[in-house]
């Protein structure tokens, strides 16, 4: 979904790094082979990225500058409008802002804004990730019933963490786009929580 934008901007000191939070490379493979990315497309079965960057849903995007600083934390953006009718999010505002930043036409967020917008993990978030980690290891050992207990505990500790609540469904043979997911999402919305949490400027379409 990001390849077109990458082709446009790659000559300007720009790279995309895509990380799939999937249970196996084979789950991500058909998507990657269809997208034919020429940027690195990596596989993260252990949710290393979620642990280090406090990622709680997908997609989650970050901008990182030449010095290795996060200049746009935990935002939600799609590379194309393929799922716009489901997600309600248009690719254009973020894409335009990214293009302007890479071309040097507009700054990224200031350090002050990044500090304000960066979500930080709590003890419960990290406990939930440890439960995920134990469950994921048990699952690799074929101990699925035990794995399920820890995934459930992780979801209880961090109900906003859909990398656990939805991301573990394929390991349990549950359709992650099926009735169980729809029920989860509806209950979450009914409790007043958005499923996607784009940064305010991306959400409003005024991202710089």
């Amino acid at each position: 979904m990001w390849q077109v934008l990458y082709e446009e901007l790659k000559g300007r000191g720009f790279v995309i790094i895509a990380v799939a939070l999937d249970k196996s490379a084979d789950d991500a493979r058909p998507w990657i082979e269809a997208a034919r990315p020429t940027y690195p497309a990596l596989i993260d079965t252990g949710h290393v990225l979620a642990d280090l960057y406090n990622v709680v849903n997908v997609p989650t995007i970050f901008w990182i500058d030449e010095r290795g600083r996060i200049v746009r934390p935990n935002d939600v953006a799609f590379g194309a409008d393929t799922f716009k009718s489901i997600t309600g999010l248009s690719a254009a505002p973020h894409r335009d802002a990214l293009r302007a930043w890479v071309r040097g036409e507009a700054p990224a967020l200031s350090a002050e804004e990044v500090r304000r917008l960066q979500p930080l993990p709590t003890e419960a978030d990290q406990q939930a990730r440890a439960e995920f980690g134990l469950g994921q290891w048990l699952w690799t050992q074929g101990r699925v019933a035990a794995a399920e207990r820890h995934f459930a505990r992780g979801g209880e500790l961090a109900p906003h963490d859909f990398t656990i609540r939805r991301g573990t469904m394929p390991m349990l043979g549950v359709d992650s786009m099926g009735p169980q997911f729809r029920e989860m999402r509806q209950a979450w919305a009914a409790a007043g929580h958005p499923y996607y949490r784009p940064l305010p400027d991306t959400a409003s379409g005024s991202a710089r």
């Binding site: 790279v15 790094i17 999937d22 990596l42 290795g68 440890a130 992650s176």
Partner: protein, 137 residues
């Protein structure tokens, strides 16, 4: 020691002889040093890379071994345990993770591509990076 416990630390799983009593798991001290590199001495819990002070040495280690929960707490690590499955996972410290993100430095990681080739974020230093977390689910 009658049991073997699997400890998963940063995606590395090691087996350590352990003594299990109810919910309490005590790990063989010598095996803990041989596998994960941690040992207790002079009121410190030390690896090759670092030492952390031990608040209550008697709670951490006794003749039965190193208490798993106190060990994780001393390292300020999240810990998930499944006593019946004889397995535990040492997770990331909330304080450490929050401090790292608050510093605005992008944490480095190394992950494989579809062919298994490792890629580190730090290889791309000097470029502007769009980092995208996605999934097939």
């Amino acid at each position: 020691m009658s049991d073997r416990f699997t400890l998963v630390d940063a995606e590395r799983a090691v087996e350590v002889p352990a003594r299990v009593a109810g919910d309490r798991v005590r790990l063989d001290a010598a095996a803990l040093k041989d596998t994960l590199g941690w040992e207790v001495h002079d009121g410190l819990l030390c690896s090759d890379a670092m030492c952390v002070p031990v608040a209550d040495a008697a709670a951490l280690v006794d003749e039965a071994g190193v208490d798993l929960e106190v060990f994780a707490r001393t390292l300020d690590r999240a810990l998930a345990v499944d006593v019946p499955e004889r397995a535990a996972f040492l997770g990331g410290s909330a304080r450490e993770r929050a401090q790292a993100l608050a510093s605005q430095h992008a944490p480095d990681f190394t992950l494989p591509d579809l062919e298994g080739r490792p890629h580190a974020l730090s290889q791309y230093r000097g470029s502007k990076i769009l980092l995208v977390a996605w999934a097939s689910w």
